[in-house]
């Protein structure tokens, strides 16, 4: 009897090797589920397995990094087709980033569980947790990895849904919290709307170009615009509309301005581990995807066309508005989670500025922009894990994340207060901290590109002004910790694990700001140096 599946394509093991991080993550998801099936619901066991999976993932990513490190690239596709999944240094960076973050989040969760048990608060251990919690967390991580590892619009949509849908559920992980349920609902509604718009945009692009491969779309669009430049009309509005609608989905993930409303409420309502996760991972994945789209479109245009210029303007304006709105809204917040939420919006704005560097003089400036974002993301990871981790330790103790919970922290818990202050100063961007290095690279990238595009100076000015504004609300927290005190408040007993996490972050931030300043720049520059480029762009037929 004939085998029914004889004529289907299956990837070879060499191809699969390149995607071992994703496979490890999927395996971990299954392992968490199956172990829970056999051993019963033990949240800490599930957490351990998830942590193990994340560390294994780091190893797997390191393995892939060795393969692609010297310029190797790989794609997953049947012969003759543009690849659906790709592995290059850029995506390897994001995978490593996400795995490290995942490990930190699970570590934070474990700390939190111990803390909750120690306090014996009304909430039983494992209330926020259990195998489902980790399955959802890991799945959303998988989705984010796929987001930066694809050039296919279909895979991008699916990856984004894979990143979003589990996030909606874990935001409401604490099922007794009304605030959490409300946050999840807001998140779902925003997410569904933006996903719908994005799918619509992709359908427009598909209808326009007849392909789902982003490389082919880029090729076709730049061909089209060259052809049009010679002719009469200028802009291909359908292409722009499709791209804009696609951008809505990306912007939602980054939580940049027109789609940022969900961010503070969700951050406030979610368990603080999830807040940390979303504030970093969701933004990183969204930015990775944005850069991927932007460089693919810009790269195919080779030197810039009318369209890439429009795109750069759009991203630049969005970035400027985003970071201004984020910083201004943060000024009046009383909840630390909300302050950090708005600060994360502002930081997304800074990073998007780098994405605006598109129309590259001789093809180098795009790399400058990417390396700036890569460096910024690394530092941002440390700053936010540190800040949210410290806030989490205080919140678990005080039961609230209101600013008043931080009163006198400098006396009550110096091992939290000092690293938190370091992280906050770093978020402002003061030397000699990592945040300064990040901002420095960003401004340098903007400055060098501004030679070709003078309007980028505008972004530089906005970034500097915003940094000054942001000083106010970060310092408010620091002032509450060190300059106010209430002698009746007792000292804080905090678990060692949490302290270790926060202090390590602070130390590394210090090191980056001083000793590792230039190594960071070099590393980031190298990571950005070889992006996946379509090996053989499919032949396109132009309709007369």
């Amino acid at each position: 009897m004939k085998l029914l599946l004889a004529n289907t394509w299956l990837p070879t093991s060499a191809e699969l090797h390149l995607f071992s991080p994703e496979l490890v993550l999927t395996g971990t998801i299954v392992a968490v589920l199956l172990v829970a099936l056999v051993a019963g619901r033990r949240p800490q066991l599930s957490a351990m397995i998830a942590l193990l999976g994340a560390l294994l993932g780091v190893l797997a990513t390191a393995h892939v990094a060795r393969v692609v490190g010297d310029g190797g690239l790989g794609g997953l596709a049947p012969p003759g087709e543009p690849p659906m999944l790709i592995a290059d240094r850029f995506s390897v960076f994001f995978k490593l980033f996400l795995f490290v973050l995942l490990a930190a989040i699970i570590w934070l969760w474990l700390t939190g569980t111990i803390e909750r048990r120690m306090r014996a608060t009304s909430r039983p251990v494992g209330d926020v947790g259990g195998p489902e919690f980790f399955v959802l967390l890991l799945t959303s991580a998988l989705g984010m990895m796929l987001m930066v590892g694809s050039l296919n619009l279909l895979v991008i949509i699916i990856a984004m849904e894979t990143a979003s849908l589990p996030s909606y559920a874990i935001v409401a992980a604490d099922r007794r919290s009304r605030l959490g349920a409300e946050a999840a609902l807001k998140y779902v509604l925003f997410g569904a709307a933006s996903a719908a718009i994005m799918v619509y945009g992709v359908s427009l692009l598909y209808g326009r170009f007849g392909t789902l491969d982003l490389g082919a779309v880029a090729q076709a669009s730049s061909l089209w615009s060259h052809q049009q430049d010679a002719g009469a009309t200028g802009t291909d509005w359908l292409f722009c509309l499709g791209l804009a609608a696609l951008g809505v989905g990306v912007v939602f993930k980054i939580a940049a301005v027109p789609m940022h409303y969900w961010c503070p409420d969700v951050f406030e309502g979610a368990p603080i581990e999830i807040t940390t996760w979303l504030s970093i991972a969701s933004k990183a994945a969204g930015l990775g995807l944005l850069l991927r789209i932007v460089t693919t479109l810009g790269g195919a245009a080779a030197g810039g066309t009318h369209h890439t210029e429009l795109l750069a303007w759009a991203i630049g304006i969005l970035a400027a508005v985003t970071c201004t709105v984020g910083n201004l809204a943060a000024l009046r917040q009383e909840s630390v989670k909300r302050i950090l939420a708005y600060s994360s919006i502002a930081h997304a704005g800074y990073m998007m500025m780098a994405a605006a560097i598109l129309v590259a003089p001789a093809g180098t400036a795009a790399n400058v922009g990417i390396s700036a974002v890569v460096a910024y993301l690394l530092v941002y990871l440390l700053m936010n894990v540190g800040a949210f981790g410290a806030a989490a330790l205080v919140t678990w103790h005080a039961g609230t994340d209101h600013l008043s919970a931080f009163t006198g922290l400098g006396r009550r818990a110096p091992w939290i207060a000092v690293p938190l202050a370091v992280c906050l100063f770093s978020l402002v961007g003061l030397p000699p901290l990592g945040g300064f290095a990040a901002k420095w690279f960003l401004l340098v990238a903007l400055g060098t590109s501004a030679a070709a595009q003078p309007w980028l100076w505008g972004l530089v000015v906005i970034a500097v002004v915003n940094t000054a504004i942001s000083l106010y609300y970060y310092v408010r927290i620091i002032r509450q910790m060190f300059l106010t005190d209430d002698a009746t408040l007792p000292r804080l007993q905090v678990p060692f694990g949490g302290l270790a996490l926060v202090n390590v972050c602070a130390v590394v931030i210090l090191l980056i700001g001083t000793l590792w300043f230039s190594p960071l720049g070099e590393r980031a520059g190298r990571l950005a140096s070889n992006l996946y480029v379509q090996p053989t762009p499919p032949a396109l037929t132009l309709q007369p």
Binding site: T8, I29, P78, M84, E132, Q543
Partner: protein, 165 residues
């Protein structure tokens, strides 16, 4: 005008009418029913384009699956059942302005755009062909979706499971 074109315009009109009804109805069950009409109409459009598989899947997944769950949810939610959803005139005007602007913009763009740059290929739409494609060209999305569906199922179960005492 061919019969096919007439059928298309008729169906399109029906779909649009149902979609309008869905937006304008004030009773939530009627909205759901109008949505059923829209989804069914789109399924018929698929059948008209000889995409039988897609049409059937549209009926099974949306009309028979998603929508019945929505109706079920609406009926179980005692407060939503029987409530009249009223829209204030100001909201109505705002929505109308935005929608009409969007419609005008889209129409203008579609009219001005000449046609697809790449002539879309017309593959064999047989079920076997679709299956083969799903397991070869679209293997990656197919597998990712399976993980996604697993996670979504677990998430849904997680959110609704009763609290342990």
């Amino acid at each position: 005008m061919t019969g096919e074109a007439i059928a298309f315009y008729l169906l399109a009109a029906v779909v649009t009418a149902f979609a309008l009804g869905c937006v304008l109805a004030s009773n939530i069950v009627r909205m759901a029913l109008c949505l059923l009409g829209t989804l069914g109409g789109v399924a018929l459009l698929y059948f008209l384009m000889a995409a039988n598989f897609l049409g059937a899947i549209q009926l099974i997944v949306y009309a028979g699956g998603t929508l019945i769950v929505i109706v079920f949810g609406v009926m179980l939610t005692s407060r939503a059942y029987g409530t009249k959803l009223r829209v204030r005139p100001l909201e109505m005007i705002g929505a109308a302005v935005v929608t009409l602007a969007l419609l005008a913009g889209l129409t203008a763009i579609l009219v001005r755009t000449a046609g697809p740059v790449v002539s879309p290929s017309t593959p064999d739409f047989g079920v076997a062909q679709i299956g083969t494609e799903l397991l070869s060209t679209y293997l990656v999305p197919f597998e990712v979706i399976s993980v996604l569906l697993l996670a979504v199922m677990i998430g849904a179960a997680y959110l609704v499971q009763p609290e342990k005492k």
